[in-house]
């Protein structure tokens, strides 16, 4: 399931809803991304997440479908927020549920790694020196490249 929204989400309630009634699930892994107060040596007062409505949902849907194809998953959840967020606020939740833990762990890492390099979101940080667009990290590309099949 994919959601792109301005509002916050309740991690416990989301995971509960994801696995509710699916008693074949043996484990669920999740990753929650938060706004940090320092990034790249800059103090961050807040950040604004911009996205490309339509393409965002399409890309997240494709990432979800790819995970379902690669691992025996019972459920996948991706929630990503947009708009202005302050340090400590939740940005993203990805979760994967499976009969066994290894598929759930691997799929969860795959989901966030691919999301970070493929989903059309951009972060604009507010720092004491002014506004600053976050630059893409080579380490994110390397993390995503681990999942490219030969």
């Amino acid at each position: 399931m994919i959601r792109v929204q301005r509002e916050d989400f309740d991690v416990g309630a989301e995971l509960e809803a994801l696995t509710s009634g699916k008693t074949g699930i043996g484990g669920v892994t999740s990753f929650v991304g938060l706004v940090r107060d320092i990034a790249g040596g800059h103090r961050i007062g807040a950040m604004t997440l911009e996205h490309y409505p339509g393409m965002t949902e399409r890309q997240l849907g494709e990432i979800e479908a790819e995970a379902m194809k690669r691992w025996p998953l019972d459920a996948v959840l991706i929630i990503h927020r947009f708009g202005r967020l302050e340090p400590g606020e939740r940005i993203v939740l990805v979760a994967a549920a499976s009969a066994h833990r290894q598929a759930a762990f691997d799929a969860c890492q795959f989901l966030i790694d691919w999301l970070k390099t493929k989903a059309p979101f951009w972060k604009l940080e507010e720092t004491p020196q002014g506004q600053r667009w976050v630059e893409a990290q080579t380490s994110d590309d390397e993390a995503a490249a681990r999942w490219v099949k030969e």
Partner: protein, 83 residues
């Protein structure tokens, strides 16, 4: 053709979307970027280093040689930084 600009490309160009009719020779993405660069200082500045420009046509990533059609939705944006 509908053009969309995001993040610092939008900020430098000064608008988030527009409708354009490129000249007849503009048949692919590379030619579109070359033409856009000539449309003013904001475009020239935003597109001066195309290594940091990503292009999506009809909401899918494409390469520089992708052929364009008149009804396409073409989005230009920097490498993504979500998550």
């Amino acid at each position: 053709m509908k053009l969309l600009y995001f993040a610092w490309l939008r900020a430098k160009i000064g608008i988030s979307e527009e409708r354009v009719e490129p000249p007849a020779g503009v048949t692919n993405v590379a030619a579109l970027l070359d033409w856009l660069k000539t449309r003013g200082p904001g475009f020239a500045e935003a597109l001066k280093d195309t290594r940091v420009v990503r292009v999506a046509v009809n909401q899918r990533y494409v390469g520089w040689d992708h052929a364009l059609a008149p009804g396409d939705e073409v989005a230009l944006f920097p490498p993504v930084t979500g998550g």
